[in-house]
């Protein structure tokens, strides 16, 4: 079974192997520069059909997802039984108003795809690589462009990411994701293993196309109150950015699944903040499961 899984996985990897120099010299590539924001939590937009992200079973009276209680849909057929049980247990804990650790509230690297739920993100394209920065707690990723994964990648929290352009779409393929102590794929506690593989596809959209993402976001997420940074204009008529990502981990899921995250440009003053509102996780640590706030480990003296 394991060797069959490995063969399947190798085939899947080959299917998304990066073709070098996908952008011909002088060809146009989309401009993803600038600060992109979305104003909802937990952040993933489940698709209307097909294998897709977990949604929150805890709902507000008006039917929208209730971010104050994180009860992942453990009936989702993408989940293998053990993963479903993990999500169910954490949901039960949340329903009792006792939160659970996740990399975000414990100030750890969030990894993929968890960090894709971050409400602000910025892509710097330097040609041979991208630097992607996420607002929540200064998370940083590097993507090597038009390159192949190494034969033996070194596992890390953000893995090995390679990217290329396919016309108007930026495609990023990531493997070698190392689960950290609080690792999970989403806010509901869906687990991950070293077999995790994530493919991201970024594309600029017109407003009419983006509206579908906004609709799905509002259906399953909690829209943050007006004025909460980052501030976005839901009626913005310029270009939006949508990420379509596909996740697979044969140890956790019965099938690969996909979801979107839809972004608008961060507004300049006076409507928006115009700058990148700082989020220093170490200033706001909370310990869940007890009454005690966690103390982020700090050194009284530098060790170097």
């Amino acid at each position: 079974m394991k060797s069959r899984q490995n063969l399947w996985f190798a085939a899947a990897l080959a299917a998304v192997a990066v073709a070098p120099a996908s952008a011909a010299p002088g060809a146009s590539i989309p401009d993803f520069s600038g600060i992109w924001a979305h104003q909802w939590d937990p952040g993933f937009e489940a698709l209307d059909s097909g294998p897709t992200a977990l949604v929150n079973l805890a709902r507000l009276p008006d039917g929208r997802g209730n971010v104050a209680q994180l009860v992942g849909d453990y009936h989702n057929p993408i989940l293998k039984p053990e993963a479903a049980e993990t999500v169910r247990k954490l949901g039960e804990q949340s329903k009792m108003h006792v939160g659970f650790h996740n990399p975000r509230n414990q100030c750890w690297p969030m990894g993929l795809p968890f960090v894709l739920s971050s409400d602000g993100m910025e892509i710097f394209d330097r040609g041979d690589h991208l630097t992607i920065i996420y607002r929540l707690d200064h998370q940083v990723r590097t993507v090597r462009m038009n390159a192949a994964h190494p034969a033996k990648p070194v596992p890390s929290y953000y893995g090995d990411s390679v990217g290329h352009y396919e016309g108007d779409t930026l495609v990023i393929d990531t493997i070698a994701l190392k689960p950290g102590p609080f690792a999970m794929l989403d806010w509901f506690g869906t687990p991950q293993t070293p077999a995790l593989h994530v493919v991201e596809r970024y594309r600029l959209l017109d407003y009419d196309e983006a509206k579908d993402g906004i609709r799905r976001a509002g259906r399953d997420n909690t829209i943050n109150p007006a004025g909460t940074p980052p501030v976005m204009d839901f009626d913005y008529r310029g270009k939006w950015l949508q990420l379509l990502f596909t996740v697979d981990d044969p140890n956790v899921f019965t099938t690969p699944w996909s979801a979107t995250v839809t972004y608008a440009p961060q507004l300049p003053p006076p409507k928006g903040l115009g700058v990148w509102p700082e989020y220093v996780c170490a200033e706001n640590p909370y310990k869940y499961g007890t009454e005690e706030d966690v103390h982020v480990p700090t050194a009284k003296v530098s060790d170097f």
């Binding site: 750890w108 330097r126 530098s302």
Partner: protein, 292 residues
């Protein structure tokens, strides 16, 4: 494509369709107009653990008490020491002295010597430039923004290009930085700094009135990066003062040999490498004689 003015005044948009850049054209445009200060593959390693004075630059930074010199790991006649600030520096307003002396006394007793990097806290400005000894800084230049990334943490500062400061600012650890290019120099102006950081590793406080100007300039044929800092804070300091940090450039990243590109930023999450505080910290074990 976006053309950058060397004077840093405004941007000129020309003929390409909105939302598109040439695959290499935008980068080439930057190369022609602005100094290339690096990328996520170009580490800048600190030459100095702390700020140094600028020769002929007038009042300078707080440095080590001459009676209790600071030695990092691998230096000094008796092994590493903790930083003890020189409180005789004339820039310091009197109200700073008691708290700094208290911190000095704790360090002298070997009990505590706060550093932002070790506490997973923001380094503030200009403290960002001296935070952490080993983790390099990376500079990523975009068309509207430059980000400075300290690999340790990581810590990220955003510098918004060719725009004025906001009129209403909520203080934050890294404040609001605006910048522009003056020839071969990136000039960064920062205000809106919250007072919960120190300006250096000697635990020198500042107030929310702090105003910092940094000038980033390549020297030695581009192999080194010099950052000159000017700090004004009438709430904390008797006069403006200046300081300098210098960085050495990292390994060339011209080729990829099937492994991580040399110089590529590493993952160095701060929370993974911290020591538990709250107790007397034992000094790093040092052998008083060679065993061979």
């Amino acid at each position: 494509m976006i053309k950058f003015s060397n004077r840093g005044v405004g941007l000129a948009l020309t003929l390409l369709p909105v939302g598109f850049l040439t695959a290499s054209g935008a980068l080439a445009e930057q190369t022609e107009s602005i100094p290339q200060l690096g990328s996520a593959y170009s580490p800048w390693s600190k030459l100095n653990n702390d700020f140094v004075a600028i020769p002929g630059g007038g009042p300078g930074p707080v440095m080590s008490d001459p009676a209790h010199p600071y030695f990092p790991n691998g230096r000094g006649p008796n092994g590493p020491t903790l930083r003890i600030a020189d409180l005789s520096n004339p820039i310091l307003k009197p109200w700073l002295i008691p708290s700094m002396k208290k911190a000095n006394d704790l360090a002298a007793a070997g009990k505590e010597a706060y550093e932002a990097r070790a506490a997973c806290h923001p380094g503030g400005v200009p403290g960002f430039l001296v935070m952490g000894r080993l983790n390099p800084m990376y500079i990523v230049q975009g068309p509207r923004e430059v980000v400075l990334i300290n690999e340790g943490g990581p810590e990220v500062r955003h510098i918004h290009l060719n725009v004025p400061h906001s009129t209403h600012l909520k203080p934050s650890p890294y404040g609001e930085s605006v910048g522009h290019y003056e020839g071969d120099t990136l000039v960064v102006d920062t205000i809106g700094l919250s007072d919960d950081t120190y300006v250096d590793n000697y635990r020198t406080p500042h107030t929310t009135q702090e105003h910092v100007i940094e000038r980033f300039k390549l020297i030695d044929g581009g192999k080194m990066l010099q950052v000159d800092v000017r700090v004004e804070d009438s709430g904390a300091f008797n006069m403006p003062w200046s300081a300098r940090q210098i960085y050495r450039g990292g390994v060339s990243t011209d080729s990829f040999h099937g492994k991580f590109l040399e110089g590529q930023m590493l993952e160095a999450p701060c929370e993974q490498n911290n020591l538990i505080g709250g107790a007397t910290v034992a000094p790093i074990p040092v052998a008083d004689k060679s065993d061979f």
